[in-house]
């Protein structure tokens, strides 16, 4: 099947499959379980033999894999490549593994770019996998060390590569951390958004840009690795 589904049923039912080459910004407040949602989207791909590339700026590569283990999801045969921007910043020497390549730091956009490209080559050319999901989690960390022009140039290149590779790009942004001008600048690069906001005691999400009107807001909560959704009224 062509295109990508997120693996979040209520949303998928509204927007259908997202066409290959799309770039999406996921924006929401801290503590709104964005990491879990990203992992659900990744898992939904790799369980159907899609590949995934995760640029991790907040936790070491090993920790990213742990989430799947803790939730008893088998990813032993999954094609997941992690660009770990954390381990070397902590002053820890750890060698690259088949699935984890380590960049020098979140400032090292050159290195991050090389490693993303290598995983793309490995998955598309060597393993002949048609669909790859690229997740950058998060742009906000990268924006702590580099200014918006720098990040814009970087994304300009890599949203283009996502398009060329017919992949799906998802870029996480922490709401409230950036001024509106920064967000507006970034938005130009994306085809759509997964928006998350506080709602009552919890959070709600909707998707903008893939249907003529935004999807409704869905209140959600995490139950283990299950996302329980309810259309808000």
């Amino acid at each position: 099947m062509s295109g990508y589904s997120l693996g979040i049923k209520e949303i998928d039912d509204h927007i259908g499959r997202i066409r290959g080459g799309s770039n999406i910004m996921m924006i929401g407040p801290p503590m709104s379980c964005k990491d879990d949602i990203i992992n659900i989207i990744i898992y939904n791909g790799v369980k159907d033999n899609d590949a995934a590339i995760v640029v991790s700026t907040r936790e070491p590569g090993e920790r990213v894999f742990n989430w799947f283990k803790e939730n008893k999801l088998d990813i032993s045969n999954a094609n997941i490549g992690i660009v770990d921007c954390v381990t070397k910043t902590l002053g820890m020497g750890a060698a690259d593994t088949e699935n984890i390549k380590r960049a020098s730091s979140p400032v090292d956009l050159t290195g991050i770019g090389v490693k993303i490209s290598q995983f793309f080559e490995q998955f598309l050319m060597k393993k002949n996998i048609a669909n790859t999901r690229l997740c950058i989690n998060s742009l906000s960390t990268i924006l702590m060390y580099s200014n918006i022009q720098t990040v814009f140039r970087f994304l300009h290149v890599f949203t283009g590569r996502v398009k060329a590779a017919n992949a799906l790009g998802i870029y996480v942004v922490e709401d409230e951390m950036h001024d509106p001008q920064t967000i507006a600048t970034l938005k130009q690069l994306f085809d759509g958004m997964i928006e998350i906001k506080a709602s009552g005691d919890g959070y709600a999400m909707r998707v903008v840009g893939f249907t003529p009107k935004p999807t409704p807001w869905f209140n959600y909560e995490m139950d283990g690795m299950n996302l329980i959704m309810q259309e808000s009224v």
Binding site: S104, V107, D108, L109, G113, N147, V157, A164
Partner: protein, 390 residues
């Protein structure tokens, strides 16, 4: 003059980089251009030079680790290596280095430190900037362009060599034009062959003020450990039945497989060679006439050909010549292997030449493939021909 330590590049540069000159590795995003500067730095450290590494995007304590991935042990030369820490200030970390840039986002702060280092160096040295693009990102394009002019002038005055790693993000077009044409004495472009993804990497000399060697692109790959290797995706080994082609492929290769049936090749041999800075994939063809369609197919897109002959078997030389036609070898770099030289009735290369109508520039080299004799000499000869610098 210092060497870059990158095979073939030093040939293009007519030996290397003269003192007082600057060179930039101008890299397209996503391509492993950063290894070029590292390899040049390490090569010169190992040659006993004093070197300066300007760290802009790595924690200095991690640099040794990063070089180690390539098998380059900086610790052995630590007393000759000065690290300028233009990173710690950015993330608010403390630094143990002697030269620290207080505010990496301020070009004056960087300038001050670089000038100080240059003045305090007592020998002609190599100064390598880990990431000029990071500096540009932090300090702004125009300010960085001005600073580069200043550093290069300092380098010239004190006869240091300045090496820059640079990733060509989509900066202002004028900025990139300056980088490519005006600011440096030599510009090495490092690019990627992209289809849907980048699947091949090359470098070429865009400019080298002191060299009149013609520009040509070389494919490369990066080995860990090992560093930069010139990559030759396809060398074909052909020749008559039983000449020793499969034996030759296996003798050269670090790993190889053959598709044989009762001792004769029915499909192909494939091997991978890593030797003296070259990395090549080699393909052996069958020899028997009934496999001619396979031989033809296998030799498509070859970058060079080995023709293996059994030096005792003159009656097969006609077949050998025919195979040069099937593989379209006449237009390609070609080396003829006079194999089985251990046999008493083996003809010498000069005698074999009389049977072939080939120009003198085509070498005929003696070999005993099953003893591994002569095979690497032949490999070197062919890859040098393939990558010949005009």
């Amino acid at each position: 003059m210092i060497e870059t330590g990158i095979i073939k590049l030093d040939d293009y540069l007519m030996g290397g980089i003269p003192n007082g000159k600057s060179l930039i590795y101008y890299t397209h995003p996503g391509v492993e251009g950063n290894v070029f500067g590292m390899q040049t730095l390490y090569h010169n450290l190992a040659a006993g030079m004093k070197c300066v590494f300007v760290a802009s995007s790595s924690d200095p304590s991690m640099i040794i680790d990063t070089f180690n991935e390539f098998g380059w042990n900086l610790e052995a030369y630590r007393e000759n290596l000065i690290i300028v820490d233009a990173y710690s200030g950015l993330i608010g970390a403390t630094s143990n280095e002697k030269y620290i840039v207080g505010d990496p986002e301020n070009i004056d702060s960087l300038n001050e430190t670089i000038e100080k280092v240059i003045e305090e160096l007592d020998d002609k040295s190599v100064i390598m900037f880990e990431s000029l693009s990071t500096i540009m990102d932090l300090c702004g394009e125009q300010k960085t362009l001005d600073a580069i002019k200043n550093w290069n002038t300092y380098g010239m005055l004190y006869e240091h060599v300045l090496i820059y790693n640079f990733t060509a993000w989509p900066y202002e077009p004028e900025t990139l034009e300056h980088m490519k044409h005006n600011l440096f004495d030599a510009v090495i472009t490092v690019g990627g062959i992209a289809e849907r993804v980048i699947f091949g990497q090359y470098f070429g000399v865009l400019k080298a003020e002191w060299s009149d060697v013609e520009l040509k692109s070389m494919l490369f790959r990066v080995l860990r450990p090992g560093g930069i290797r010139i990559y030759i995706p396809k060398i074909v080994v052909t020749g008559p039945f039983d000449a020793g082609k499969s034996t030759f492929v296996h003798a050269l290769s670090t790993r190889a497989v053959s598709v044989d049936r009762i001792g004769t090749t029915v499909a192909l041999d494939h091997g991978h060679v890593d030797y003296k800075g070259f990395s090549a994939d080699i393909f052996g063809t069958p020899g028997q006439e009934r496999f001619d369609p396979i031989i033809k197919m296998l030799s498509g897109e070859a970058m060079g050909i080995f023709l293996v002959v059994d030096s005792t078997n003159t009656k097969d030389f006609v077949r050998a010549k025919q195979m040069l036609e099937i593989t379209k070898a006449y237009g390609l770099p070609l080396v003829i292997i006079a194999n089985k030289q251990d046999k008493s009735d083996a003809l010498k290369p000069e005698e074999i030449r009389k049977h072939f109508n080939i120009p003198d520039s085509v070498k005929i080299l003696p070999a005993i493939a099953d003893k591994g004799v002569g095979v690497f000499e032949a490999f070197e000869s062919l890859v040098n021909k393939i990558t010949e610098v005009a």
